[in-house]
Amino acid sequence: MNSKMAFYIVKRVLLALFTVFLVITITFFVMHSVPGGPFTSEKAISAEAQKALEAKYGLDKPLFEQYVSYLKDIVTELDFGPSIKTRGRDVADIIADGLQTSAKLGVAAAAIALVFGIILGAVAALRRNKPIDRIIMVFTTAFVSMPSFIMGSLLLILFAIVLNILPANGSTAEGLILPIITLSLSPLSNITRLTRSSMLDVLGQDYIVTAKAKGVPHIKVLFGHALKNALIPVITYFGPMLAYIVTGSLVVEQIFAVPGIGREFVSSITNRDYPLIMGTTIVLAVLIVVMNLISDILYKVVDPRIKFE
């Protein structure tokens, strides 16, 4: 079993590495296939100035050479090149700055989603078909299918404009409350539903009956036997949750004017700041791929019943 597990982990890590490589390659060639380049939109630029700019950013070299040096810079020194629109700043700096704020947002949202999702899911399962279960299910059904930008806009209108109790601008610590709630509601609903169904599944298992028959205290059966096993499927949701939070943060940071990586990404698209688009895409993609990797491996390690392919 152990060698099988090691083989599985090695295989998964290799696949993840390949995916990251593929993302970098796709990003590079897609962005470089756009005709015109980033300087064509700017007015009044002479042919010489254009040449000088291209030489400065290395755009005059053959495409493949550019690709190899881009790849080398990323791997060896995490260098994504200079930003074209924000003069004098490196893409890596901009991303690092943005990530600090976005990481707070994302981690807080994920933590809230996990804690409350598990609690609500367990409560719903234990009070199955009772009013509280119904209420939880109705709300989670509505929240699961609500796009993040709509959730964000509605929360903004409700709490910042109608009730006026929370700031609409996300640049302060207090202002992060609304974006965090926005980002956490959909994963929270997903985790609630996941926990509920797997808890219901577990509660019907023989070992729960055995534990109860042995006279194990009720609380211990719930937490030690039922919830512990019911949480295993929740691990598989870690990857999708991060993907949701990352893509959700793109619009949520836009709505609440949070100075994070998502807003940089969106503005880099409208500004056609190609190095920044590429850098942000790659960093966010690596985050998602790594999280998927971790949750996949964790899932198999935690539950010995799951077979390795």
Binding site: L15, T19, S145, F149, S153, T247, I269, V289
Partner: protein
Amino acid sequence: MRKFPINMHLNVDSFLPASDAEKEYMVQMRPSTTFFRDGVKRLLKNKIATISFIMIIIITLACILIPLFWPYKYDKQLGISLGKPVDPTYANLRPFEYGETEQAKIAAGETVFPHIFGTDSAGRDYFIRVVYGTRISLLVGFFASLIVLVIGMTVGSIAGYCGGKVDIVIMRIVDIIYSLPDMLMVILLSAALNNSGLDKLIQGTVLEKIGLNILSLFIVFGLLYWVSMSRLIRGQILSLREQEYVLAARACGAKPGRIIKKHLMPNCIGVVIISTALQIPSAIFTESYLSFLGLGVNAPMPSLGSLASDALNGIHSYSYRLIIPAVVISLIVLSLNLFGDGLRDAFDPKLNK
């Protein structure tokens, strides 16, 4: 006629016409039902799914029919008319308010069709823009799912059928595409396609009318989103191929064509329809998300996402302009999802837990 135990003669009584009492026995108490009718019955019993379905029908009919008789156009700026100075009173009207020339008309005793949701910052009737936005969103969702279905079904059935090396190669490609972070790739591809030279290529064709942004959305869907559909169909075909009834049909000498048509397709089609139905809301979601980021439909064409995104600028004074498309999009996505779930429960009892 006497009955002998070992009489080779046939009993003539058995060939007498049946009496009425005997015929009664053969009368069908209720007509035999087909798989489809059975599913519909189960679906109608499911109240939530039925309500969702009615909701979808109402929304679809509304966005087809309303533009036919509505007196305003989605791209007509009401303050601007030929040969007259621009009338700024038409911009940013609140619901049921009127512009200056309209007020003059009302004062003169004429009736003016009300602006139910007011007008937007460019003086366009907001109600008809919402209707058009809904239409665009629904169309995009429908066609994107169709593209996903066609590509996914073709690739999936090829992989499932051929098996062996073809299967392995196709499935490795699917695995790799599957592991890519889809939304980021969608954004990247749309950003690249929107700035590419494609718009010159499609000038003058039907495609120009659709708009480059929507077209690039379709391309992106065709490139990335077919993988889960093809996985599903491959799995279906692989498991169906091993079923006893297929073996029985083959043993009876049925040709491959007949097995596909009579055994594989009908058993596969339910799952296919259900996952296509569930694909529509996710396509609508993606479209509105991209429109919100400014990568969706081309202005002045509205979509629900771009309407919401435009409304964000005036959110403090005109928050209803954001709430309306938000509510419509939530309604569409929610009812499509619930209807899809209902379809799955009704037509795929095996999946039903």
